[in-house]
């Protein structure tokens, strides 16, 4: 833990730097309350950026208050019934973590992306709670249906007026992002039912919420999926009783081929989309609207075209403006939602910022020493470790594995092509695209790192992931073959359970590499070693 107090003069040097917030080192670690990652005071980013960030922070509170104001009684009952909902009270703190160290264009781009995710989440939470039978049937109860966590929403746009909610995303996946310890409670509930604790902690967490009967109850059907992995497939079986109300709701597995880019499997992917559409037509008693569906896919394409432009900027310049954690989360979030109004709006705004950075050659991240690719499945409770990498060691993660999913453009000119492209979309989910369908997908990390002009690879080591565990030797051998080109750092974590691999363990692994192998001095010495066990 950094103990030496840094004075204002030492930090900023001149009043100009203080007012602009462009000091050489932010000394972020000294703002933490000991034992946590809570700020003792808000981050000073200079007059302009602090005002901007504070206004954004206040706006966030207003949005949260607005959610409660829509139906305070229903919301109060939801808070009473659902333990996971309390995690959302930590949203402002999460946003502060994700914007740590941001200045100028980076701050503006990141707040735009965060605002998009907040707006979408507020909307989703409200749609779930207003439809929840637990608090009384409403006109929305039958028009809101349940989707599995990694099942992208696209097909629901062919049924205007019907809402699909990826309930495990809001009730389970988000929890450790918001407050890292809360996931552990539900994981323990799943294990108490006899499911082995060595499994991937994400399905365990999802199952735990089902064990506690804390999934909202709406609609009359449930679309499950086999993505991203074996454990997620099995947690659908474990959650069957809770989510289907013991079979009272119709359940449709929307599966995708494992060997998704094998031409012989394409027919399965396409067949499954049609099957899901027919299932929903039967359940909802209305025909599929191909026009609204196509329109949605075109919106999704629009977002993806923006993504491609941004990736080109990341790959060829230092003008990319989204910080690593926000960039990754925004992409993953988009995967499920597709091109809805929030993502379209933020896409335009962020693209403008990127273009401005390129036009004026603004480099939003000024402390970059290494450009990194983050590969394998990242942690949630330690999601902002990739921002820490930059703030502490100057390692800027320009792209990560899970961002590179769902980015293919769907050809809407012809139905057969459209469905084939969409089948590909559904098969390439986060945590899946590069981990199933053959080892060659895992090995795409080398070409990706080259493409994005990286000299470092951050290799996440999720100790509960069986798919990656099985490939350990392969990775080790391939890493040795590429060791002259890339610095490769293993970053251990346990996806959802901060007790198994504490956040500090991940940082320690990086610190050891940077100090003992590269012999580098940190960009911010106050971040090298700190204890955040009691933090969120």
């Amino acid at each position: 833990m950094w103990k030496r107090k840094i004075g204002l003069k030492e930090q900023y040097g001149t009043i100009g730097h203080f007012l602009k917030g462009d000091e050489a080192c932010h000394y972020l670690g000294q703002r933490y309350i000991e034992g946590t990652n809570f700020y003792a005071r808000r981050e000073w980013r200079g007059v302009r950026d602090t005002s901007f960030a504070f206004a954004h922070w206040l706006k966030l509170w207003v949005k949260m208050a607005g959610l409660v104001a829509r139906n305070p009684v229903r919301l109060a009952r939801a808070f009473w019934k659902y333990r996971w909902l309390s995690a959302y009270l930590g949203t402002p703190m999460m946003v502060d973590r994700w914007l740590e160290g941001d200045r100028g264009m980076a701050l503006r781009a990141d707040t735009a992306a965060v605002e998009c995710m907040i707006d979408d989440t507020v909307s989703a939470l409200w749609k779930m709670i207003r439809a929840d039978r637990t608090f009384g049937e409403t006109k929305w109860t039958d028009t809101t249906i349940t989707f599995d966590y990694t099942l992208a929403k696209h097909i629901i746009y062919g049924f205007p007026g019907i809402e699909a909610m990826n309930i495990p995303q809001y009730c389970a996946f988000m929890m450790p992002l918001l407050r890292k310890q809360l996931g552990c409670y539900y994981i323990d509930q799943a294990i108490s039912c006899g499911i082995p604790g060595e499994m991937c902690t994400l399905p365990l967490l999802e199952t735990g919420v089902a064990v506690e009967d804390e999934y909202p109850d709406f609609g009359n059907c449930w679309l499950t999926t086999n993505t991203p992995c074996d454990a997620n497939m099995m947690d659908n079986n474990a959650m069957w009783r809770a989510i289907s109300n013991d079979g009272q709701k119709a359940v449709h597995p929307f599966t995708t081929p494992m060997m998704y880019d094998d031409p012989t499997t394409r027919e399965l992917g396409v067949h499954e989309i049609y099957e899901a559409i027919h299932f929903l037509e039967d359940q909802l008693g209305r025909p599929f609207n191909w026009d609204t569906f196509k329109k949605h896919l075109e919106h999704t394409n629009e977002f993806n075209r923006g993504s491609h432009e941004r990736w080109d900027i990341y790959a060829t310049t230092n003008n990319g403006a989204l910080n690593p954690v926000v960039q990754g989360m925004w992409r993953i979030y988009f995967y499920q939602q597709g091109g809805n109004k929030y993502f379209l709006r933020s896409n335009k705004k962020i693209l403008r910022i990127f273009e401005k950075c390129v036009r004026r050659n603004i480099q939003p991240f000024t402390h970059v020493r290494h450009r990194a690719l983050a590969w394998s499945c990242g942690s949630t409770y330690n999601a902002n470790v990739i921002l820490w990498l930059y703030n502490c060691w100057g390692i800027l993660t320009v792209i990560n594995m899970d961002s590179l999913t769902g980015h293919n453009l769907v050809d809407t000119s012809d139905e057969a092509l459209m469905m084939a492209d969409l089948a590909d979309w559904y098969a390439r989910t986060p945590m899946r695209t590069h981990t199933v369908g053959g080892n060659r997908h895992l090995m795409q990390m080398w070409e990706t790192a080259e493409k994005f002009n990286c000299d470092t690879i951050i290799m996440y080591d999720d100790i509960g992931c069986k798919g990656m565990a099985g490939a350990q030797g392969l990775l080790e051998e391939e890493m040795r073959r590429h060791s002259d080109r890339f610095h490769i750092i293993w970053l251990p974590h346990s996806l959802m359970d901060c007790r198994i691999v504490p956040s500090s363990e991940g940082r320690k692994a990086v610190n050891q590499y940077m100090q003992n192998v590269l012999h580098e001095e940190p960009v911010d010495p106050t971040l090298v070693d700190f204890d955040d066990e009691l933090g969120w």
């Binding site: 494992m258 369908g437 030797g473």
Partner: protein, 402 residues
């Protein structure tokens, strides 16, 4: 009971993958086609000129090299198979027919190629994409996968003849073997069976790991012997149990259960006969390959299919088997680090013990095993306690009736 004539020989055959019968078949010029999963159709690998062999790694206790490649967080079955491959135990095989059904197994199979484990220039690794749902369309998809991933490559590389006639012959041979195994298995339903669970386990295993055309006569002879075998004067066991779980290819686990006083009367696990030994029926208008695909698609009870029908169906199947074989309790097993059976064991344990959506309930004993665990003291204690609890239940039930 008198020892079965061929039991010692069968046990000998199970001591290594490249056993005497495999060596004999290879010497006769047959190609050994290996596989690891119950989804891979046996008759397809047993056509003229080749034979199917399900991979095992008997006696593998230290999969060190495999642990380097797959970490100690991967299931020990996959690691043991990989270790045995590194040791050269499968050098006799000409092809490995894999599937991306379980990620760990798939990773293990890919190392056969990556590490060039089989010293055979013509070695072929084929990988099938198994559909997750059951149904006619999915059977058709599976058939097309088999055609494109198994039939065509094997024909091109080795010139194997997969003509309709050859496939029908293979199905016929397979059905004959299934009829014999089923008949032997049905003997376990008797109140005082003439066969033990261990003996059946050994018999079922040899039917998976030996060339069918070489083992068939021995199995036929064993069935005749069993039909005339005198049982013990009274049942030697204290309870009847069904074993449910993953890749149980170690008969010493069954022996361990039986040494604790329970007879394993039904084997519903990946290497077991329930399901797996039902005859393949070729419906009018069907060709042989379609019949094979539909059969393996519909009869498999792997835990991976999702949805209401599959989820409820698997428990109903277990319940029906337990009733049919007059089991008093069910041992639910999962190989440590197996994701499918880790969940399935816990879910089935809950449903069966509660009788949830079933006509009744069954006492269950849930265990986690390693690949080789015949001498596990901890498991012995668990089994002994389970047998005692079944006995107590029986006594209490009898007292209740009085």
């Amino acid at each position: 009971m008198r020892d079965l004539k061929h039991l010692a020989y069968f046990e000998e055959l199970l001591r290594e993958a490249n056993n005497a019968l495999c060596r004999q078949a290879c010497a006769e010029g047959k190609l050994a086609l290996a596989y690891n999963c119950s989804y891979i159709p046996e008759p397809l690998l047993d056509v003229e000129g080749c034979f199917g062999v399900r991979l095992r790694a008997p006696g593998c206790t230290n999969p060190d090299l495999a642990t380097y490649y797959m970490t100690n967080r991967s299931c020990s079955y996959s690691r043991s198979i990989l270790e045995r491959a590194f040791e050269g135990g499968y050098n006799f095989i000409s092809a490995l027919i894999g599937q991306e059904c379980c990620t760990t197994m798939n990773r293990m199979e890919q190392y056969f190629e990556y590490c060039e484990l089989i010293p055979n220039d013509r070695f072929l690794f084929a990988c099938i994409d198994m559909p997750i749902k059951k149904g006619a369309w999915y059977g058709g998809y599976f058939r097309r996968q088999l055609e494109q991933k198994v039939v065509q490559p094997l024909t091109e590389r080795f010139g194997i003849d997969f003509s309709e006639q050859r496939l029908r012959e293979a199905i016929e041979r397979h059905n004959e073997l299934c009829r014999i195994i089923t008949e032997i298995g049905n003997l376990r339903k008797a109140e005082n069976p003439v066969i033990t669970g261990y003996e059946f386990h050994v018999i079922q295993l040899v039917s998976l790991v030996c060339p069918k055309y070489l083992i068939l006569d021995l199995l036929r002879e064993t069935l005749e012997e069993l039909n005339t075998r005198e049982p013990e004067t009274k049942p030697w066991f204290r309870a009847r149990v069904m074993m449910v779980g993953s890749e149980i290819d170690d008969p010493t686990l069954t022996k361990l259960v039986e040494m604790c006083g329970a007879m394993v009367v039904a084997d519903r696990y990946c290497f077991g006969s329930l399901p797996g030994r039902e005859p393949i029926e070729i419906q009018p208008g069907q060709d042989a390959l379609e019949a094979i695909a539909q059969h393996y698609m519909l009869h498999n009870e792997c835990p991976r299919p999702m949805g209401t029908e599959a989820t409820v169906g698997r428990r109903e199947y277990m319940y029906a088997l337990a009733q049919d074989y007059r089991a008093e309790g069910i041992i639910l097993e999962n190989m440590k680090f197996c994701e499918y059976w880790g969940y399935e064991r816990a879910i089935a344990g809950k449903w069966l013990s509660e009788g949830h959506m079933l006509p009744g309930a069954f006492p269950t004993c849930q265990i986690e095993t390693d690949y080789t665990n015949g001498s596990s003291g901890q498991l012995r204690t668990r089994f002994q306690a389970f047998v005692e609890s079944l006995e107590i239940k029986r006594i209490q039930a009898a007292a209740g009736k009085e």
